[in-house]
Every structure is written in structure tokens, then in C-alpha cells.
Symmetry: C2
Subunit: 353 residues, 2 copies
């Protein structure tokens, strides 16, 4: 994560010294344009002006990230937060089997934040935009009475026949997932433990050695746009697709519900990295539980027709973890020791007190 290292500056400039327009000018200065054919006018007018590639349809999604709900400033550096805010939105476009082109960034920020802090946040957002060739074309910057609120809108495009919806899975389609699962949750557990220890003893130094992978999974997730390319290269069109933001169980239930199917998942097939298992062991959590209910892995979960099995079977980045069944059969996991466990979405109960 060297490219996200804090520069360690100690200056503090109050936001009020720039005012709203001054801040916007600063944050949008020298923005690169990666997609000049599509991004006709970026920031600086009442709206951005875009041209959709010939023959393409457009994909649009948005996410809110709220301090104290989606992130904790105690252990989430602002540059990482900026990177992640963009990355999770790009993941929504990847989940449609499409490519992102533009983002718009809304930010409400309190006086508690310095200009240097906001610079860090934007540096992280720009880094992610640059890595994935996405243009920052607009947004809104305002004050808040408490905390930080980020609102990202992402725009992408694809040929209409390439778009993968949640609703296209059919009985007997293979259920596949990219990468590995549970790591982001393991990283969160480690960070929360360190926070508790830090609050008890502020002089402590975090001990994160041996856990760089799971920390990166939590702090700096990457959208799996490489999988979109990979599938295109293999000439495989997923019959349905979603990204894993709330946990595997919840996402499987979304695909099943929208596709009017059921699903059979095999516990032994769920990919969990060795470091993730080691970290979860510290908290006595089973790897499958983290994969099923942890969330924030931002891998792609998708179904393919059985005839495409030969095309994907040798891909190290794609694992077949189950198959779709008829709706009446429901959604189950087959555990290693046999039997059946009904899949339920633990998900995230946003409004519980």
C-alpha cells in the first residue's frame, strides 16, 4: 500500500480560509481526462456533459458513505477512504459486466476537517480514478454539522447485449466467484481490536505484521474490472452478476430472487485465503461465516451457462462454488460433512438502534 502512505504533513489550514468556491477550485484543479471521447465537459458548469460510446447503453449507480456508519476515522486513513469510496462504486459497474467512465463526487464536511485532510481524501479518490481510467466530472462540496458524508455517482457503459443483470440466471447455471472471500471482514476485526487496545493504551503500536493482505482487503478494496476483461477475453457472458458487498449469502439470495431460481452452494468450494483463515482464527470465527456474512470483499459473484464451463475451468481467478436449481428447492449450502444448511442473509441491519 506504499502509494497510499500518508505524507505525514503537520500543517493545518482551516477550510474557511478558502471558502466554498476556493475549495472546489483547489480540489478540481488539473483534473486529467482519461476518456475525451466521452467526457465532453467535466467540472465547472451546472452539469457535466457526456457522450455515451456509439451503440452503448449507460450504467449509473450511486453510494453514500457516512462517517460512523460506513467508516471509522480512528483507523481509516483519509487517503484510503477516498480510494475505497471510488473503488466500491466502480465495483457496481463491474457487477453489470461493464466499464466505468466517469464519477461525480459529493462531499459534506465539517470544520473538524482541515484542508490538508480533504486534500488527502481527494488524493485517494484521484489515485483510484487514475488507476481505472475514470474521469472525475462533477459533484458538490458543502459543509456538514457533524462528520463527513461522501456521495459518489458512477457512470459506465457497455454494449446492451453484454450487460449482466441480477435476473438472468437459469436452473443448472454454474455459480462462480472471483478471488477469495472473508478477507475484508478479517481485516475489520483486526482494526477494531487495535482500536480497542489503542483506546485502552494510546501509547501502543499496532501489530499488523503477517496481516497485510487482509488489511488491504478492508482498507483498499479493488473493483474486479479485470474479471470483466477476462470474461470478455474468454467470450463468456455471465447469465447474471452481482458484486459481493454484503456477504456471499446475501448476494446469492439476490441473484436467486431476481432470477426466480434456487441455489446450491458447496461449503468446500468457497475460496478463503490462508492469511484470512489465520486472522479469523484469532477471533474464533469460521472462514465460511466470514465469507457468507462478512461482506465488503467486492468480488464478483456470477452465473454462467454450463456450456461455458470448459472456458473458465482453468482460470485461477474464477472458482465454481455451486449451481442454480429450481426455485422450489430453495437456497442451501452443502456443508463438508453433508446435510443441508439454509442460506439466510445476515446482511447489515442499518436501522437497528
Amino acid at each position: 500500500m506504499e502509494d497510499l502512505q500518508d505524507k505525514g504533513g503537520q500543517t493545518r489550514t482551516e477550510l474557511e480560509t478558502l471558502g466554498e468556491f476556493g475549495l472546489i477550485d483547489r480540489l478540481t484543479r488539473d483534473l486529467p481526462v482519461h476518456n475525451p471521447q466521452s467526457t465532453l465537459k467535466a467540472v465547472g458548469d451546472d452539469a457535466a456533459v457526456l457522450r455515451i460510446p456509439q451503440g452503448h447503453v449507460q450504467l449509473v449507480s450511486k453510494d453514500l458513505l457516512i462517517e460512523g456508519v460506513h467508516f471509522d476515522m480512528t483507523y481509516c486513513p483519509l487517503k484510503h477512504l477516498g480510494y475505497k469510496a471510488i473503488a466500491v462504486n466502480l465495483s457496481d459497474i463491474a457487477a453489470m459486466n461493464a466499464k466505468p467512465l466517469q464519477v461525480l463526487v459529493g462531499m459534506a464536511v465539517s470544520n473538524r476537517y482541515s484542508l490538508e485532510a480533504i486534500d488527502e481524501l481527494y488524493a485517494g479518490m484521484r489515485l483510484c480514478c487514475d488507476r481505472y481510467g475514470v474521469d472525475l466530472v462533477g459533484g458538490d462540496t458543502t459543509s456538514s454539522r457533524s462528520g463527513l458524508c461522501l456521495s459518489i455517482t458512477v457512470i459506465g457503459s457497455a454494449l446492451p447485449e453484454k450487460v449482466a443483470y441480477r435476473s438472468g440466471a437459469k436452473e443448472n447455471d454454474l455459480l462462480c466467484v472471483s478471488g477469495d472471500l472473508g478477507g475484508a471482514y478479517a481485516g475489520l476485526l483486526l482494526l477494531e481490536r487495535e482500536k480497542r487496545e489503542f483506546l485502552a493504551n494510546p501509547a501502543m503500536q499496532p501489530d499488523f505484521k503477517d496481516f497485510s493482505y487482509v488489511l488491504e482487503r478492508q482498507l483498499k478494496p479493488e473493483p474486479r474490472l479485470d474479471i470483466v476483461d477476462l470474461l470478455a477475453g474468454l467470450d463468456v457472458k455471465p447469465t447474471s452478476m452481482i458484486d459481493v458487498s454484503d456477504g456471499l449469502a446475501s448476494e446469492i439470495l439476490h441473484l436467486s430472487k431476481e432470477s426466480d431460481c434456487g441455489c446450491m452452494l458447496y461449503q468446500e468450494k468457497i475460496p478463503v485465503d490462508a492469511e484470512t483463515c489465520k486472522a479469523l482464527e484469532l477471533f474464533k470465527i469460521l472462514p465460511e461465516v466470514a465469507a457468507l456474512s462478512g461482506g465488503e470483499d467486492y468480488e464478483l459473484l456470477f452465473t454462467v451457462d454450463q456450456k461455458d464451463y470448459e472456458k473458465i475451468k482453468d482460470c485461477r481467478q474464477i472458482k465454481v462454488i455451486g449451481h442454480m436449481v429450481e426455485k422450489a428447492q430453495g437456497n442451501f449450502m452443502v456443508p463438508r460433512n453433508g446435510g443441508l444448511i439454509r442460506l439466510v442473509a445476515q446482511g447489515w441491519q442499518a436501522f437497528n438502534k
Copy 2:
């Protein structure tokens, strides 16, 4: 404002009884599709899928509305807030001389709000969407630790040659404004006065008779999409355009800066409604001051070539209030009694403590 009357329901249902997905299902149930050619897939997947009308470019803008910064729940009914949140975004598309097609709504809400309150908010948003034939195609719903945060993204389209930027004004172009100005600020002053009196004596009943127009200007602004149609009907393409959200002075300075011009504004030409003048008198505020610095009128400010004067001169809804000059001459208002007053943007100092 009959269509925005509160139904006066007394039930209170906690948001947690529905959970995140239940709330989203409820809020997005039975959404109409006004633009089936363009809105291919609305809510329910990782992203909305849109088709841009043939030959058109796309306009995208977004706004954040934060409780305690942009609105005060003491006097802003939730249904009005919902309506206004959509309306001010549609205004950004009107300001590009274009038509809105879709919106996405992000909402972060605390447990302080009941389900019935959120229903009211959405009813207002839907009402505005329906009135202007705009589709609600997606968004994000989450919890917040305090207060309400709304994030609206609006999408529109226009033929590329019809798009009006801030940057197209030329020396000698006529500066025009739609409708009248200062009313929204007068309405705000009245509402704030009533709030102070209510806090001092909660038994008081607000006395708003004779001020329905300025209250409506503040609580339920309308985007001037009718002016976009009117100009098209007159075959007038504005050389530059912006909407009046921060006050006339600030917007004139934006047009001048982006167009590399100066501007001469005539005080006597600034349109202010009689009721607005009467309300402002109560606060000993000059009508011109409210028009120049009050903001939130959401009228359209634009420039037209002198050759188009004949086409617009009889439009009751459009008033010529000045003309563009060369940049070196700067930006001035000519007061009734002669002389020159330099235009400055009072605007809104978002980050002052």
C-alpha cells in the same frame, strides 16, 4: 400548495421494523417510468441502465442537501423538502438548456425519523418527478448517526448544439433573467421569524396570510423547464446560461468569469415581485439586495445575441436586465440614481464557523 398538504397521520413506525432492504422495497414500489425509451432498467440491480436519445449528449449533475445546513426541519415539511430536493437538481439541467430524464436518490437517515416521515419525503420527490416527467432510477438508502442527508443525481439530455454553457457569452450580448428574484429569500426571512416566535411561545399560530407567494418560492421552487421550451419555441439559443441558486450577483460573476467578459447590470431592470417587496420591507431589506445576494430563486440567468432581441422582447417571462461588456470593464450595477456599483458575490460562506 394544496398538493403538498400534510395528511396529518399520527402513526409512528420505526425504520428498523423494515430493515434496509424492506425500506428500499417500500420506497421504490410502483415507480412509474415516464421515459421508457431511455430508462431501460430502473431500481433493483447494481446500476440503472439507460439509453441516451439518438444524437443527444448527456448532462449529469448532483447536489447534497444536509439537515441544519440546507434545510431546517422546524419549518420545512418533509414533503416540501422532497419536492425541493428534486426541483433544484432539475434546475441544473434546465440551466444547460436541456431536459431532465432521470434522477437517483441517496438518503442517509437517523432513527429519529419514522417510516411515515420518510414516506412523506418520498411522496414529495415523486410528485416533483411526476410533474416533470422524470424517472427515479436508483440510489442508496442508509442510516446516519445524526440528521438527514440527501444526495440527488440528475441526468438529462439535449442535442449537442443546443447545450448552453456558462462560457459562451460575448461582448454586447443581452443579459436576461426569467421570472422574478428575491422571493425565496423573503420567504426564508418570514419562516425564520416565525421560528423565533414559535420558540419563544410554542402556542403561537404562524401568521403567513398575504405571503403565500414568497413562502412557495422558498419551500417549493420550480425548475424553469418551461423557459427551456419557450426559448426553443422562439428559436433562441442562449449564448450562456446558469440558474440563480446563490443570488444574481454571484451568478453574473460566474457567467462573466467563464465567458471572459464583464457585465453591466441595471438596477431598475431587476424584476422583483410586489409581494416580495412587501415582505422585505418588514425586515428593512432593499429588494435589490435580496435579488443580488438572497439566492434560491432557481430562475434562469442567460445571455442572448442582440439579433435575438426582437424574438424575446414581448415575453412576459423573460426580462433583459443588462448586457455583457469587455472583460477589462469589470462587473457593475448601474443604480437608479446613476453612478456604478461593483458587483461582488456575497454568496454563501459554507465553511465559516
